[in-house]
């Protein structure tokens, strides 16, 4: 099944639940009508939270740049000795 169809069926199930709630009147109607808005807003907030948390915890590796420079120097030495042209970039 294509992924978009999976998402749409999920949406259909959630909508069916919502309509069921509207008809069953367990929660007052005025509240039930607003549920989709709450859902979308919560989803948006969750997304922003994930972005924020991810940004704070974004793994960085400044030491890798240094290690890379060392590797490059080592490689250039070896290759120059063996006659490979490591001149320009």
């Amino acid at each position: 099944m294509k992924h978009v169809l999976k998402l749409l069926s999920l949406l259909v199930v959630i909508s069916a639940l919502w309509i069921g709630l509207l008809q069953a009147s367990i929660i007052p109607q005025s509240h039930t009508w607003l549920l989709p808005i709450y859902f979308i807003v919560s989803l948006g907030c969750y997304g922003l939270l994930m972005v924020g948390v991810g940004l704070m915890r974004f793994p960085t590796c400044p030491q890798e740049a240094l290690l890379l420079q060392q590797d490059i120097a080592e490689a250039k030495d070896f290759l120059k000795q063996k006659g490979v042209d490591v001149g320009s970039d």
Partner: protein, 239 residues
């Protein structure tokens, strides 16, 4: 699968990488001492003499270890992999970038992970502990994180790093997945891993560090964002 009989074909597409290709070949040989492998350089007619350097490297390391399979001009990454695949004699294929943003020191961890888990694909991820990125400013990190959250929410891909292109594939799996991919650029990398995930292939991840050496080149203008969104929708609808 007997570990002793595995051979790894490392496909490196190049364009104007005359210095980097020599460095990366040296580092691959340094880190894969007891491994049976070959490096397949797919050069798209680089005007800077990359192919000359590869020929010098062939004299040093052997023409059976370094294969030069060039093309006449820049023809894109996907076709470069397909071209490289045709000449691959290994039962595993590694794809990696030539500009040293992918460091060969991680190759043993890819191989180890695959042997331990029997996975069909091992993909490098920059976004987990042990991995990381250097050379990105805040804006770049924000865009990357935002793009990732969006992709995770919409696609449920099963991997943490969708646009990464440092991967180990079983050769048959790569052949299968690549034949059904049509996108270009980084969306192509996303399409590969998402299609593989949908087909049920066992995918594992290893942390890698990514040192962005293309400083100052902002690959993220408005048009890139639009391309990305179009790519996401395309993947949602066709996978």
């Amino acid at each position: 699968m007997d570990a002793e009989t595995n051979k790894y074909s490392i496909i490196v597409p190049t364009y104007n990488e005359r210095l980097n290709i020599a460095l990366i070949v040296y580092l691959i040989f340094k880190h894969l001492r007891d491994v049976d492998f070959e490096i397949i350089v797919v050069d798209d007619g680089s005007p800077d003499g990359t192919q000359e350097i590869v020929k010098q490297l062939q004299k040093l390391y052997g023409e059976d270890r370094i294969l030069l399979r060039p093309r006449a001009k820049k023809l894109g990454l996907g076709t470069a992999y397909i071209h490289g695949l045709k000449h691959a004699s290994g039962n595993f294929v590694v794809i990696m970038d030539a500009d040293l943003s992918h460091h060969p020191k991680y190759l043993p961890s890819f191989i180890k992970k695959q042997l331990e888990t029997g996975a069909s694909i091992v993909t490098g991820t920059r976004y987990v502990t042990g991995g990381g990125v250097h050379g990105w400013n805040l804006m770049r990190k924000l865009t990357s994180r935002g793009a990732n959250v969006l992709a995770q929410t919409l696609l449920w891909p099963g991997v943490s790093d969708l646009t990464g292109s440092f991967r180990l594939y079983k050769k048959s799996v790569l052949e299968d997945v690549i034949s059904s991919c049509v996108s270009k650029g980084y969306v192509f990398q996303m399409e590969m891993i998402v299609r593989a995930s949908r087909k049920g292939y066992h995918i594992e991840e290893v942390p890698i560090t990514f040192v962005d050496r293309v400083f100052g080149s902002s690959k993220l203008g408005g048009s890139e964002i639009v391309e990305y969104l179009k790519g996401l929708i395309y993947l949602m609808v066709t996978t």
